[in-house]
Symmetry: C2
Subunit: 129 residues, 2 copies
């Protein structure tokens, strides 16, 4: 499998795959005689793990930690669990922050009323005091 096929099957841009290799997230594949990268199914699974972690909002560093754990013969389940729990805390903090933003935006929008006042109470409030 060369990089384009892996990219297709994984729905991930070619550049991103090379980038993950460069930063050490994805193990370096063998090379064909012409220098092209040659991937096997194990690489595909690694990439899958990275991509899924990304959709879960993990940072690259967290993915690296997870990769380190996964690489071991006997992955330490407890470590994975604590990574998960830590990340869950982050995600919930972001959820709270966004909820606050949403509330504030709704409140500001209500100030705006019908949207055809001449001076804008929203701008006034944002600049005030």
């Amino acid at each position: 499998m060369q990089i384009g096929q892996l990219a297709n099957r994984s729905e991930c841009p070619v550049e991103t795959i090379r980038y993950y290799e460069k930063i050490g997230l994805l193990p370096e594949p063998d090379r064909l005689p012409n220098g092209y990268r040659s991937y096997n199914d194990q690489h595909r699974k690694w990439l899958q793990l990275i991509l899924r972690c990304r959709t879960l909002g993990f940072t690259q560093n967290e993915v690296k930690r997870l990769s380190g754990i996964a690489k071991q013969d006997q992955p330490a389940c407890a470590d994975v669990r604590s990574l998960l729990v830590e990340h869950l805390v982050d995600v919930r903090k972001k959820l709270r922050d966004l909820k606050h933003m949403e509330d504030a935006l709704i409140r500001l929008k209500a100030k705006c009323q019908n949207g055809n006042l001449n001076d804008c109470p929203v701008i006034d409030e944002l600049m005030d005091s």
Copy 2:
């Protein structure tokens, strides 16, 4: 008021103030004979608006649009309102995405159970198929 005082009163690092000026978010202040920046209360209000927009999750571009509107003699309230509504859509999308992440993380964590299994079902699932 020079930059340090403005930074203190606004709880915003000095570098950030200079940065906002550089990218055109904050109007350029007068300079003292020695070249130091000299701010007035209007600048403080502008900075306040920028900082509050930031806590609301607006991008710099959105803040620029808002600034453009606020600069007018008769700020167009309807434009502000549409900016608000657009941003609210973004925020709600992010909320949905994060909620999905949270759910997925909770589900994975449950798989982990007590955390002392030898092989890790979480890693298996993330790499699977």
